[in-house]
């Protein structure tokens, strides 16, 4: 029984190491396969293509979440108006503000897409 428990424990340990270590192994393979050019090796870490892509992804995620929230506000304001909680004048004022804010977010998203499109691709 002790032998069986030891085998099972080792098997579990091996599985855990395989699962948890997979990203590290993958990263090492990528580094070996596409070894950095001398110019890239001198780049600060924050300016590597991966870091820039991560920053872009973060900005896009923030803007998309803000966009969803703004659309929801626009729909809620319309529902408030249609259910009589907002007068016509109040609704038009609030709606204009919200739409302007939404357009600003959409514009920033488009700028971000344009920036990514104009950036040189990775080697």
């Amino acid at each position: 029984m002790d032998f069986l428990i030891a085998i099972l424990t080792l098997a579990l340990l091996a599985l855990v190491v395989a699962v948890v270590g997979a990203p590290l192994r993958r990263a090492r393979k990528l580094r070996v396969a596409g070894a950095a050019a001398p110019e890239d090796a001198r780049q600060p870490r924050s300016e590597t293509p991966a870091a820039v892509a991560a920053r872009d992804t973060r900005r896009r995620d923030e803007l998309e979440a803000a966009r969803e929230a703004k659309y929801r506000e626009i729909r809620d304001a319309e529902l408030d108006y249609r259910t009589g909680k907002l007068s016509r004048e109040d609704y038009q004022a609030i709606d204009a503000d919200l739409r302007a804010e939404a357009i600003e977010i959409l514009n920033r998203l488009e700028e971000l897409s344009a920036e990514r499109g104009s950036r040189p691709r990775d080697a």
């Binding site: 029984m1 002790d2 428990i5 099972l8 424990t9 579990l12 340990l13 599985l15 855990v16 699962v19 948890v20 270590g21 997979a22 990203p23 590290l24 993958r26 990263a27 870490r45 924050s46 991966a50 870091a51 991560a54 992804t57 973060r58 995620d61 923030e62 998309e64 979440a65 803000a66 966009r67 969803e68 929230a69 703004k70 659309y71 929801r72 506000e73 626009i74 729909r75 809620d76 304001a77 529902l79 408030d80 249609r82 259910t83 009589g84 909680k85 907002l86 007068s87 109040d90 609030i94 709606d95 204009a96 739409r99 302007a100 939404a102 357009i103 959409l106």
Partner: protein, 720 residues
């Protein structure tokens, strides 16, 4: 197999330590592969603890009494369902359940956010693994669920009779799911502060988990209240017990968080409030676990003996200090983007709501921890009972219910007097109508209950108006029939209308609480067979005694050696209403000194309440039979002196027969309580509303909604 279980705990501890290091290294250096490895550590932790949990479950189901926890809390005669659930009836098993649930919810949270907020998620991963490591360390060093004894005893002690109730078996997993889910927003909140990203993305990521935590906690609390009412012999559903309060406090701050999150989302306001509430909720959940596990306060729930207090106090101190530091040091990024436009606005209503909820939490916190603080300062034990709690919580609860009716009908940013008049006319009319009806019905002797009923009517009026106007607007826009319009309205605005349904449920629940506590008729007296008493407008007659001996007749699987009870006939105005069968179970004790017969029934007796529930009233009865009557005592003494332990059950049979032939007077506790069912019904409505609010829209529908919203946004601006 205990060795495998303990090996899993050790492996889990290693994985937590590695994962914390990898996550922090990854986020600080920008090396994504380490953050990813840290996230996978959480998945691995969930897998390992699942293995550990299975080992313990198999031990319980297989009656492996070599395991100390199995021997202490199970037995061969315990039904399989209770054996499976007995895993978490011990302190060790409940710690394993806590850690396991936490690892599962953490895995789910990280899986759902795997492509977003990488920096926030990395910090959150380290924090969640910190919690996991803490609880695993408690098990490894203090309370090992895989401790064994050799040779193994032939039989276990059996499950605590108070826990032989289906609701009580589901209550801990629900409550622990609530507690552990509270740590997810806490971890992401701290992560967001550490990464300096308290934005819309963070809100979107944690809202569902905060909602799920709130839902599970709420359902766990209600299940516990139902158990207390249906199983314990005192006839109440809430006693302001320390452990009850410990679960209510994070629920209150969680409720405040869910509401004020909406304000941050819409107006960029209350950021300090929100991070403080999410950190407080998680900390209070840990404190609740501390109260249950450390046995530091006297409570029916707490486990005595084990001292886990010091590690928990250290963890709580770290959480509080860390939270305060993060909020103060990041206050520059937590400034509100907008100011309050008007005190007559939904923002103001939500802020008032927050204040009331936090005040309620503070009152309960003070009343719960006061005995500890008093003992620490003066050396003398002190206690705070229900009358103290009621004095401060009832007025706050009234304001809360009123605000739950105001919030849905008041507008964002500013509400003019004209539209306030338009929107509040129906709710106020509902409240006044309710007042008039109650006055006519003579329900005026309890002013606080009367105010609660009127506030609830206000809520029903306000929410009903919202549904009516929404459906009418939908019909005008889409030309749909009324039922379809209502359905489409709810489907397209799940969060809003799901939330409205939750408000209705809360109002219904509070009506039940107010009615049952203010207008209850109760009576405690001794009766012999044939005698009657009056409780409220009902007549209760003790028809005859009952006696059952296990195992043949123990239909309810109570595990009692002997159950003595009564048949009660309940009538009203001469018409038969119901028949009740209350009983009290007598259990075996481990005290050999009680004798061969005495030890079979010398354990803690447990009341098996009889309950006839209905939508308008509950009739509740409990019995305390007199087993110390001379004739019965004589049988026990004779059996003790003449029978060997294996034949003691023969004397029990004689005792039961004697009880049936010459029943002594028994003590009865009767209650007739109006509208108790509304409490459980209100809970069900809250559950329904919460599920509607939390349910995600199908992605295709979401895409269409976004496209339409985008087009409208562009068109609207072009027209402006």
């Amino acid at each position: 197999m205990a060795g495998l279980g303990f090996a899993c705990l050790l492996l889990a501890l290693l994985v937590c330590a590695y994962g914390i290091g990898a996550s922090l290294y990854g986020v600080r250096t920008g090396r994504v592969e380490f953050s990813e490895s840290g996230r996978r550590s959480v998945y691995a932790l969930a897998g390992i603890l699942t293995c550990a949990f299975i080992v313990l479950e198999v031990a319980f189901l297989g009656n492996d009494f070599a395991f100390n926890t199995v021997a202490d809390t199970s037995s061969r005669t315990t039904p399989a369902f209770y054996r499976a659930a007995a895993v978490w009836s011990s302190q060790e098993g409940s710690l394993l359940l806590w850690a396991w649930l936490m690892s599962l919810w953490s895995s789910l949270a990280l899986f759902l956010t795997r492509k977003r907020m990488r920096d926030v998620a990395a910090y959150a991963t380290a924090i969640m693994l910190g919690f996991g490591g803490f609880f695993v360390a408690l098990m490894v060093f203090y309370a090992n669920p895989f401790g064994t004894t050799h040779p193994a005893p032939a039989e276990g002690a059996g499950l605590d009779p108070l826990l032989r109730f289906p609701t009580m078996m589901i209550h801990p997993p629900m409550l622990y799911s609530g507690y552990t889910l509270c740590t997810i927003p806490l971890a992401f909140g701290m992560g967001a502060l550490l990464a300096r990203r308290v934005d819309a993305d963070w809100i979107k990521a944690i809202r569902r988990f905060a909602f799920a935590a709130w839902l599970f906690l709420g359902m766990g609390i209600l299940l516990g209240a139902r158990w207390s009412y249906s199983e314990l012999g005192w006839g109440g559903y809430w006693g302001w017990d320390a452990v009850e309060n410990a679960s209510l406090m994070p629920w209150l701050t969680g409720t405040a968080f869910l509401h004020s999150l909406m304000i941050q989302e819409k107006r960029g306001m209350l950021k300090v409030w929100n991070v403080s509430l999410v950190l407080a909720t998680g900390t209070l959940a840990i404190m609740g676990t501390f109260l249950v596990r450390s046995g530091i306060l006297n409570s029916i729930h707490a486990f005595g003996g084990q001292t886990l207090g010091v590690p928990f106090v250290c963890l709580i101190a770290v959480l509080i200090a860390g939270s305060i530091y993060l909020v103060v040091s990041r206050r520059d990024m937590l400034r509100s983007e907008h100011r309050l436009d008007s005190w007559l606005s939904r923002e103001a209503a939500f802020m008032a709501n927050n204040l009331v909820l936090v005040a309620l939490c503070f009152v309960i916190f003070w009343g719960t921890y006061f005995p500890l603080i008093s003992e620490a300062l003066t050396g003398q034990e002190a206690s705070v009972g229900p009358p103290w709690f009621d004095r401060y919580t009832v007025p706050l609860a009234l304001i809360l219910v009123l605000l739950s009716g105001i919030g849905p009908v008041i507008t964002w940013r500013r509400a003019t007097l004209a539209n306030a008049r338009r929107n509040f006319l129906v709710p106020i009319a509902s409240a006044l109508t309710a007042l008039l009806i109650l006055e006519i019905a003579g329900v005026t002797q309890k002013p606080l209950a009367l105010v609660m009923f009127c506030c609830a009517a206000f809520v029903f009026g306000s929410i009903g108006q919202e549904f009516f106007r929404g459906a009418r607007a939908r019909r005008a826009m889409a030309g749909e029939a009324a039922p379809l319009a209502l359905l489409a309205l709810v489907r397209r605005n799940r969060r809003r209308y799901g939330g409205y349904i939750v408000h209705i449920g809360i109002a219904v629940l509070f009506v039940g609480v107010a009615a049952s506590s203010s207008f209850q008729h109760a009576s405690e007296l001794g009766l012999s067979p044939g005698q009657s008493t009056r409780v409220g407008s009902y007549d209760v007659r003790y028809v005859k005694p009952t006696a059952t001996i296990t195992p043949k007749y123990d239909q309810e699987h109570t595990g009692s050696t002997l159950a003595l009870g009564a048949v009660l006939d309940v009538t009203k105005g001469g018409r038969h209403v119901t028949t009740l069968y209350p009983s009290e179970g007598f259990y075996a004790s481990e005290e050999a000194s009680q004798g061969s017969v005495g030890s079979l029934i010398g354990g803690q007796p447990v009341s098996h309440v009889a309950l006839d529930g209905g939508i308008t009233r509950d009739i509740w009865a409990a019995i305390e039979p007199d087993v110390e009557a001379p004739a019965l005592e004589r049988i026990i003494k004779t059996g003790n002196s003449t029978l060997p332990p294996e034949d003691g059950i023969v004397a029990i049979a004689y005792l039961a027969r004697e009880y049936l032939k010459h029943p002594p007077q028994a003590q009865f506790h009767f209650e007739v309580s109006p509208l108790v069912m509304w409490i459980w019904l209100g809970g069900f409505i809250v559950l329904t509303g919460a599920l509607i609010a939390i349910w995600p829209a199908p992605s295709a529908v979401r895409a269409r909604v976004f496209a339409r919203s985008r087009a409208r946004a562009v068109r609207g601006l072009a027209r402006a």
